[in-house]
């Protein structure tokens, strides 16, 4: 990866399904994945609910996006992080998190990485752009 590749972070702070934010954020991520950018995604506040396992939107009559989050690694977006405190506040554990793909070599399921606010703050400092959804 060359030096001039842009580091772009997406922050997801809204709950899924109650508004269009998470869905549109995902679309932008998939578009950006087509470009040569160093993409990371951070879920915080109600955004952590977007990563909850077992979302079933059939009765809502919408397609949902959990399946797409399930193949983020295939889109080469594997830098996905979740704020530990936001999960704790909402009664979520690592077990609740959906799988975002499988490791290319080991074929083990990959989950988003749970990190502390300080780690997220440090990552933010490194970015060229940060987009909030």
């Amino acid at each position: 990866m060359s030096e001039d590749i842009k580091k772009i972070m997406f922050t997801v702070r809204k709950a899924p399904h109650g508004s269009i934010y998470v869905y549109e954020g995902l679309e932008v991520k998939l578009i950006m994945a087509a470009y040569d950018a160093d993409i990371s995604v951070v879920f915080m506040d109600d955004g952590v609910f977007a990563l909850k396992q077992g979302q079933d939107t059939k009765e809502l009559g919408i397609k949902g996006f959990a399946a797409t989050y399930g193949v983020m690694v295939d889109y080469e977006i594997s830098k996905m992080f979740v704020d530990r405190q936001s999960m704790l506040d909402r009664g979520m554990t690592e077990e609740d998190l959906l799988v975002i793909g499988e490791d290319e070599e080991t074929e083990e399921p990959v989950k988003p990485k749970v990190v502390d606010a300080a780690e997220i703050a440090a990552m933010m400092k490194e970015q060229h752009n940060i987009l909030c959804f």
Partner: protein, 98 residues
């Protein structure tokens, strides 16, 4: 870095979230309903005063004046106009806490 907060701290946890993730030295700009956080003598003013020890906090003039808040801002909160806002965005990587 520049962080913008546009939600009132009295009905929304956005300001608290922002403060949890700022690095020392980052600038926080309050705008739209975010400027209510700049008012002195509220349930949130101690939180803002504490944040002022590590971060510069600014409030957008048009939004402060529109809400009649100009006379009673927390000491240390600086007021800036739209030109100042543009300068901040030019200078910093921005995260909008929408």
């Amino acid at each position: 870095m520049l962080h913008t907060v546009n939600k009132s701290p009295f009905g929304n946890g956005t300001l608290e979230s922002c403060l949890r993730f700022v690095n020392p030295g980052d600038v926080i700009l309050l705008l739209e309903d975010g400027v209510f956080a700049a008012r002195a003598g509220t349930a949130k003013s101690a939180l803002v005063a504490e944040a002022l020890k590590k971060n510069e906090i600014m409030a957008l003039s048009a939004d402060v004046k529109a809400r009649g808040l100009a006379e009673n801002l927390i000491a240390g909160v600086k007021v800036t106009d739209y030109d100042g806002f543009v300068e901040l965005v030019e200078k910093h990587t921005t995260h909008a806490w929408l």
